[in-house]
């Protein structure tokens, strides 16, 4: 037996993939449908999501893909969307996945979560529910998601407690709601939340379209973080708070997905296998579909999953950078969206020759002072009609 205390293996998932040996996926995110009753302006689903509606995988196709990923060692399963509750086979998928040995997370807006369904999920072995909120106030929640869902979500939150799940709240922060952080955290506290993730929206897809409307100013961020710290101090471990700032405010990029094809496998509603939620937008990669290929060949052999794996693909300034193992050059999709080439260094990095694309946008966020009624006509809601315009 080797020494215990000193070798706490916290680094876990990320550290074991670096190096020549490619390990299997650990985390599968199954976007089982892009159908959604909400129309959030910060949604990261692809703009053309509506094109998947008539191509969704069947129950059996989902189960086959999940089984294949499990055989490669995947243990975490996120069931997301869209709104996963829109699939009436969710009960079956949960029970089967749990049986396979997955730790099963449901990522939901709560819309459509009845007690009957929740009881079935519990019986099927669902491990975790993450409930998303748009804001602490009914008015903004309903406006930002373009629905009337706030009261319904509060009821769902009660149901989640009743069924003895930890309360995990996910609240997307942005320019329009970040100043309500105190009310948001009070709401979370009164709901006896165990984990609260306050993540600023990341600027992909619909959120990219609405970037000016969503990006907070530096002052807003600092104030929010201060409030967050006060709650942390007062509540300690009883309510764990995660506060995530937009990566535009950093000078080094995020270690996106812990590296391309390293840990994370996303499966879109139409069966497309992707190294992240957004990769579908990248040209020339010809992403494989779980209908046509098994997950093993997709993960290890496909061109798409190998394209940015490891670091031999990196150009300068990443190639000679001593931090390349730390952040993997950042996000391929962000590099593509902002510079037109997915192989470029993520412009968030201050070493990137394109870094001004980020700093200009950040500068704009300090200046813009549009009132809700001024900016409202400019907002693009994520809805089926708009999606078809992008298809």
């Amino acid at each position: 037996m080797t020494k215990a205390g000193s070798s706490v293996p916290e680094a876990s998932a990320a550290s074991q993939i670096a190096g020549p040996h490619v390990a299997g996926p650990l985390w599968v995110n199954a976007e089982i449908t892009y159908k959604c009753p909400l129309h959030c302006v910060f949604c990261y689903n692809p703009l053309d999501y509506a094109s998947t509606f008539d191509k969704e995988l069947t129950t059996d196709q989902w189960l086959k893909a999940l089984r294949e990923a499990r055989e490669l060692g995947a243990v975490q399963l996120g069931l997301s969307g869209g709104e996963p509750l829109m699939r009436d086979d969710l009960e079956i998928i949960i029970a089967e996945a749990s049986n396979m040995g997955y730790y099963v997370n449901l990522l939901t807006s709560g819309v459509g979560l009845t007690e009957k369904r929740l009881a079935a999920f519990k019986a099927g072995g669902l491990d975790q529910i993450q409930l998303s909120f748009q804001d602490s106030t009914k008015k903004l929640n309903d406006f930002l998601s373009s629905t009337k869902t706030f009261d319904l979500k509060l009821n769902v939150a009660k149901l989640i407690k009743q069924y003895d799940y930890p309360m995990v709240l996910n609240i997307v922060l942005h320019r329009q709601n970040i100043d309500h952080i105190e009310q948001i955290l009070q709401m979370a506290e009164s709901m006896q939340a165990d984990h609260v993730e306050l993540a600023n929206s990341q600027y992909y897809a619909w959120a990219f379209k609405n970037r000016e409307y969503l990006m907070p100013s530096r002052d807003q961020l600092e104030r929010a973080e201060t409030v967050c710290n006060q709650f942390r101090e007062r509540l300690g471990n009883t309510m764990k708070l995660y506060f995530v700032v937009p990566d535009y405010y950093a000078d080094r990029p995020k270690a996106c997905m812990n590296g391309w094809g390293a840990v994370f496998l996303n499966i879109a509603p139409d069966g497309l296998a992707l190294p992240c939620h957004e990769a579908r937008m990248l040209p020339g990669l010809d992403f494989p579909n779980v209908r046509d290929h098994d997950v093993r060949s997709i993960w290890f052999d496909s061109h798409a999953f190998n394209a940015y794996r490891g670091n031999s693909w990196m150009p300068e300034p990443c190639r000679s950078c001593d931090e390349k193992e730390k952040d993997f050059g950042g996000c391929r999709c962000q590099a593509f969206m902002l510079t037109g080439d997915a192989a470029n260094t993520d412009p968030v990095c201050s070493k990137s020759p394109h870094h001004t694309l980020i700093t200009d946008q950040v500068a704009l966020a300090q200046r813009l002072n549009l009132r809700e009624d001024e900016v409202k006509p400019l907002i693009v809601f994520r809805d089926d009609r708009n999606s078809r315009l992008y298809t």
Partner: protein, 90 residues
Amino acid sequence: MSLPHDKALRFAKQYKLQWESAQNAWVLLYPEGLVKLAGSAGEILQRIDGSTSALDIVSTLEAIYPGADLKQDVIDFLEHAHDKGWIISA
């Protein structure tokens, strides 16, 4: 809150330990991630069952590995796991 050495321990509600043959390791699963445990950490945590205490685990392991002075390492690791919120008093 420090870890009571003589009280039974269990995993916190959202934590689940499971043997993963693909990883050839014990893996601790929780909502936002997973930790692949080194051999020694797996040896310790697999004995958490809601009725076993830290001191019980020390005796069990010392019986399996006679002659090794494991007490401090085991207690240190369990305290770490407790600080992390993985395990709590049953």
